[in-house]
Amino acid sequence: MSDPSAKLIKGNTGEWEVVIGLEVHAQVLSQAKLFSGASTAFGAAPNSQVSLVDAAFPGMLPVINAFCIEQAVRTGLGLKAKINRRSVFDRKNYFYPDLPAGYQISQYKHPIVGEGKVTVDLPDGTTRRVGIERLHLEQDAGKSLHDQHPKQSYVDLNRAGVALMEIVSRPDLRSAEEAAAYLRKLRAILRYLGTCDGNMEEGSMRADVNVSVRRPGAPLNTRCEIKNVNSMRFVQQAVEYESRRQIQVLEDGGTIRQETRLFDSSKGETRSMRSKEEAHDYRYFPDPDLLPLEFDQAFVDRIAATLPELPDEKKARFVSQYGLGAYEAGVLVAEREPAEYYESVAKGRDPKLAANWVSVELFGQLNKAGKDLAQSPVSAAGLGELLDLIKDGTLSQRLAKDVFALMFETGKGAAAVVAEKGLKQVSDTGAIEAAIDKVIADNAAKVAEYRGGKPTLFGWFMGQVMKATGGKANPGMVNPLLKKKLDG
């Protein structure tokens, strides 16, 4: 566990502690909507994926999508949470043009998933356990466009009725970094489970961030809710701005009003959404159109049996099976694809060497090129081939880096690059000896110095020989040969 005192913010009148809880809306990966047969695909023509249920035509009845139930349960299991085999759908009432029924079907008192937990990995290598309060299923609203017409808003109901999982954390987070790290971990779990694609740009994952500040150890203070923050970076910025704002208000003798605020990413600040203040009486009641949702333990067990290995378990296995350090293992398992990529490179090879090449060379090049793993020009098999060339002595580590850079640039295989560029390591004793002799002959003064009692010069001679061979000499062979000639 990390040291909580390190997270305190210094104000003018002393130190403050930030308390953060997140409500994450994650779109369920399903073909059809939660209560209708209309498609959930992103980017279709306006109102083309709307059934009469979604548009709230009179007399239309919602019928629940079995797969969405399964996905919610699967997510609950991934969050090590209590699965409620009986849950109830309620109507959450409010008026907005993109909510045609005048209510959202949600779950209030009896959610499908109860308490769970997420272990968050922090950048300093420590971990923090964050409590999950609940997960419930609900409908998304439609989309309003306010900038298309001077006097009108345009409404597209394609998104209306799409299944969302609202995942509510306990107020267990204590800094902007922790909030971002929590969101990152939650996203990874959802993507491992395959229940949400975690695409924050397309809005399939977004967060409402609850922030309050207090004196260390004091009771919880009034919080503000920052709505619809749609990237990890914005979550971090929003928390940083909002906590400083609240500290300033309190230090100036003011009080915090509970309110909904909006994060303006262009200015990096939060501001009050006054229009929503009145609307906080949702008058929840059980939806008369829907009976309680019930399933048996066998249904839950069937889903549990198909659960993949999740990031925490994978990390533990990478440490025990491959002997990797916790940090390196954490980097590799942060997403499912790199973890799989690593395992196929490591198979039958030195696992530590493989980890180093994947997390340093490959990730480094991908980062530099602004690509993700799916776009990598070097496949796992290709990187494996390169590691094999190091192992059989064809390439030194140093040469291998050059070969890798060329593979990344051209998309060619390791052997092809080596042949084409003549980068093969020189392991021919005669050629190496010739190079050593030349270095010794050209540097008589240094040789005398070395022999006169300055053994640290050995490294310099190594460098000269490597340079003379264009870096291609096999260092494992140069070392003993050079030693023999210098000492002899």
């Binding site: 209708s36 047969g37 709307v50 009108q152 345009y154 597209d156």
Partner: protein, 131 residues
């Protein structure tokens, strides 16, 4: 609304049926509970605003009286002692039907927009909502 479609009514109806089946005596749980709930004007004003119903100033007082009477009428049910009765969502063994995850609807923007007072480029067009 038919009783089987409204869980609350269904639950109450179910409790009564169940009691009759077991020939249990119906007892009054809270003898004074039937006292009328009194709604004040401000509450009625708030309810009207939440429901987006326009109510004229001179209507609040009579409306408060009428709504209070309705509440009082319904509250008589709280006299039934249901302490020993399991909550019941449906009286005829119905369970929530589940649907397969298959796209089987949509592609009818014209139908969906048919009753819209205004439309533009395939969208509903509504008076501007200012954020």
């Amino acid at each position: 609304m038919p009783a089987e479609r409204n869980p609350r009514l269904a639950r109450i109806g179910g409790a009564l049926l169940d009691l009759r089946r077991r020939r249990a005596p119906i007892t009054l749980a809270r003898p004074g509970a039937a006292a009328l709930s009194k709604l004040d004007r401000e509450t009625v004003r708030r309810i009207a605003r939440l429901a987006r119903i326009r109510v004229e100033e001179n209507e609040f007082e009579p409306l408060a009286g009428e709504l209070s009477k309705i509440l009082g009428f319904v509250e008589q049910l709280s006299q039934v002692d249901t302490a020993a009765v399991e909550p019941l969502a449906a009286i005829n063994g119905l369970t929530l039907p589940w649907r397969e995850d298959r796209v089987a609807d949509g592609g009818k923007a014209d139908d969906v927009l048919a009753n819209a007072p205004a439309r533009a480029q395939g969208y509903y067009a509504v008076p501007k909502v200012v954020e």
